[in-house]
């Protein structure tokens, strides 16, 4: 057994674990512990990979740190092939980390159908593991679609009042968007087969398909639609605030921290290498969509009275900046953008966790019921301030590093865009500060005293604060991981490097 087969374990361990959690569901306490231990084991396994000193090596599916490749559907040439590079490694770690957090924050909040809940959490983890490593397009599509099912149930069974509306809307948007990607994917597959005589879904081989600009444009548009819904980019974002508002806290964490990442990741991993020409042509569109996303999200966020909705819109704003960085496409902006992907997963999830805690205590997420929390819950408030500051990009914390890299990268090529993006970042500061002010400071409008955070909650928050500080103070190792991934990618997809530079 080589280290490569570890990738299989990473996918199938949580999937098998999910069944175990389901089986343990008859006893909620046992089920929670089982899920916690399983998710911790998964996280330990992934952390182990950081210390293995992996070097990129090339194989039949491209150049990866680790790769596996097995036959799967031989009739049509789809293979079970996974590949790991620096970006996927970090996203895998984030997935495992947030799953642990999700189990921990649901410890007391979820008392209904506990087994099923943890089944879906771990099942989702397994799907995402596969998604972040798939290098076969059909396999990727499989994982991309499966992840809808656990999310639908997490939203729909354990959500708040309008959960059914939100869950159905979520499914319709994401499924509707991705079906056209399926068609585009099959067209690409057939075109490649016609030209080379070899029918394959391998990303590496499909990226070498010469396409006429018109065809490439259409196929890219179909991919763009699917990923833009998931990211979400602004005209297609309306499912997100609803889903977030109605989701249980663990659902919000998974949604913001993981599911949104899949859209951006797929963009970066698949859409760009497969259609470099169209991607280059779409740069103005990406820049515009990114900017619109930032400004629109800030504008709407300022008008929110529900704190969870505000965080949801801040999420859209952050994703806008990352998409903008895709449009800049130089090493600096891209590393910043990938780093932001990770940062957003930590900071926004932490904010959702805290909003969830607040909701448990207040029974409301409305700003009218808040104010003066600092006097009653000092520990909670300190953490809340910390993550809010991280989210708006305070120097020394994680988001600052990513944002400054994106802005600097943008200044090198497109100064005007950089200025606009800078304004967008400033707007983030405004609404985040307003959120902090309306909730933590001012006069308390409540009579009953509020309980401060419990030891379990302190543990969760402290654990989440660690990566925030680490990346803020010492981003070097993580950035090197991204840079090496990017360089491998440019070496691997020469057409991409030629079209977009790098």
């Amino acid at each position: 057994m080589t280290a490569d087969s570890l990738l299989l374990v990473l996918v199938f361990f949580p999937l098998a674990g999910s069944l175990l959690a389901l089986g343990a569901g008859y006893q909620p306490r046992l089920c929670r512990w089982v899920s916690l231990i399983l998710s911790l084991m998964q996280m330990a396994l992934i952390s182990l990979l950081f210390f293995l000193d992996l070097q990129p090596h090339s194989g039949p599916t491209g150049t990866w740190l680790l790769a596996v490749d097995y036959p799967w559907l031989e009739g049509i040439g789809a293979r079970f092939s996974l590949g790991l590079d620096g970006l996927s490694l970090l996203l895998l770690w984030l997935t495992a980390f947030l799953t642990v957090i999700s189990v921990l924050i649901s410890w007391t909040a979820i008392n209904l159908k506990v087994g099923l809940f943890h089944f879906f959490l771990l099942f989702l983890e397994g799907c995402l593991m596969g998604l972040f490593m798939a290098t076969d397009l059909l396999l990727f599509y499989l994982f991309w679609e499966i992840q809808l099912i656990p999310m639908f149930f997490l939203l729909g069974i354990w959500g708040h009042a309008r959960r059914i509306y939100a869950a159905v809307k979520f499914v319709l948007f994401t499924f509707g968007g991705s079906l056209f990607m399926l068609i585009a994917l099959l067209v690409l597959y057939v075109l490649h087969g016609h030209q080379t005589g070899e029918y394959t879904f391998s990303l590496y081989q499909l990226s070498q398909t010469p396409l006429s600009p018109t065809v490439e444009g259409w196929l890219y548009a179909a991919f763009l639609l699917a990923f833009a819904v998931k990211i979400p980019l602004v005209p297609l974002h309306t499912w997100l605030p609803d889903a977030h508002t109605e989701a249980p806290t663990a659902g919000s964490v998974d949604l913001a921290g993981l599911l949104l990442k899949t859209g951006f990741y797929a963009f970066f991993r698949f859409a760009f290498p497969l259609f470099p020409g169209a991607a280059q042509a779409s740069i103005p569109l990406l820049l515009a969509l990114g900017l619109v996303g930032m400004f629109y999200a800030a504008w709407i966020a300022l008008a929110q009275t529900d704190i969870k909705r505000l965080v949801a819109y801040s999420s859209i704003g952050h994703m806008g900046l990352m998409v903008l960085a895709l449009g800049i496409w130089n090493l600096m902006a891209l590393s910043g953008s990938l780093l932001q992907l990770f940062n957003h997963g930590i900071s926004t999830s932490a904010l959702f966790v805290m909003v969830g805690m607040l909701d448990e205590r207040l029974g409301s997420r409305n700003f009218q019921d808040m104010g003066g929390l600092w006097q009653q819950m000092p520990v909670f408030s300190a953490f809340f301030l910390f993550f809010a500051l991280s989210s708006m990009g305070l120097p020394g914390l994680n988001n600052f590093v990513g944002e400054i890299l994106i802005l600097l990268g943008a200044f090198q090529i497109r100064p005007l865009i950089a200025v606009l993006a800078f304004v967008g970042v400033l707007l983030t500061v405004i609404y985040i500060l307003r959120m902090v002010q309306d909730s933590l400071f001012g006069e308390s409008r409540r009579v009953q005293p509020l309980r401060d955070v419990t030891p379990r909650e302190v543990l969760i928050l402290a654990v989440m604060a660690l990566p925030v500080l680490y990346i803020g103070l010492h981003p070097g190792p993580v950035l090197r991981l991204f840079e090496s991934s990017l360089q491998v990618m440019w070496g691997q997809f020469p057409m991409l490097a030629r079209s977009l530079g790098g």
Binding site: L73, E74, G75, L142, I149, L172, L182, I183, L186, V190
Partner: protein
Amino acid sequence: MLIHWLDILPLLILSAGGLAIFGAGAFLPRRPSWVLFGLASLTALGAGLAALLMAPGSAAFLGMVDLGSYSRFFTILLMSITLLSLFFLHRYAQVRNFAGDELFALMIYAALGMVLVAAAVHWLIFFLGLELLSLSLYVLIASRRRETTALEAGVKYFILGAVASAFLTFGIALLYAATGTLEIKASLAGVSQAVPMPLYFLALSLIFVGIGFKISLVPFHLWTPDVYEGAPAPVTAFLSTGSKVALFAALLRLALNLGEPAWEMAWPVLWVLAVLTMALGNITAVYQTKVKRLLAYSSVAQMGYLLMALVAVKQGSLPALLFYLTVYALMDLGAFGILGSLSEPQADLDELEDFQGLGFSHPWRSAVFACCLLSLAGLPPTAGFLGKIFLFWALIKADCLILAVIGITTVVFSIYYYFKVLTSLYLRPRRREFLITPPDLAVGLASGAIFLLVFLLGIHPGPLWSVIEQISIFLSR
């Protein structure tokens, strides 16, 4: 001339089995339903095994019944459908007091008709098989004689089915007049100067209308929701899978044998009907509030997907079609079968509200039901997902991109109504107490098998796919 009777052993077993059930009904005192059920199951099992294990010596029996791998494949598939339907039916009929000998014998005779329809290479056998199938189904649908809805459904299916048969008979007669032969292959392929074209096309359209009725293509689908709703749910499962699979197998054979000029005229018609069937089936299903009607429209739409790939049958979509037919049979049978099992003795659960909370009070059967729904919707990792992938792959390979895009657009609609049912099952609170009969071993076996197969074919379809590819290669030679 020596007649190789053993070549048609599955047909002989079915005929004898049907007679044995009638005999047992006539002569056994008190007619215990488990004996009848056991006889019927053994007959279906025996016929299926005979088709699976015995390789016939010749290509066709007296030039009437195809004995090749194509018809063996469908015999096995149809026997599996029959067996699973019987498993769902027995308990249902027992609780509701209509588990008589005529029920089980007619199931077997309907199955015989299906096999004949799928294997016929002669119009006479095709017509005989279809009539045997239809007559048995008329009675089966109305087998709960005290239920007015069942009677209404039976009469409706009878009248429309009789009209369809009339179309078909007239079409076959005209085809005979035009070509002078009743052999399916010769009558379809040979378009010489002597054949009067208008007559030939009229004949073909009449036959197509007849088949279109039976597999409920738009605009001949109007009977479907009423009949599906009125018939006992396990019979609906049998009807919507068995008879459709058999007739689609026949339609496939016709399409493959159709000569060049006629096919050039036929495929645009198929194209338009496929679009209509997918669009109307899926959009109408969105507005349904009754689960049986919703599933009925969904099965109309599923036939539309199959018809869509039929357009590309001359460019190699046959393996995809066969795979999807198998998968369709499995998931639709599961959905209707479980629907029957999850019913109360007085009346089947039907309104969407009735299903609220069922997912947690009856978790096992609901899980199978949900899997079948997810598979019908085409979500991974179920068989329906791969089935759809294969269908669209075949279409795109044949350069039917526009049809594929239209098809996938209608799939978006279908997601909504499948999730509507899931929403009722799992997301909404329970409304009332259920008086659902507990399942017996047969229901457990059948639903367990369907559950496993739906996932197995979605993850590891390799074995089935290679069998299907061999059949297709054999047919296209």
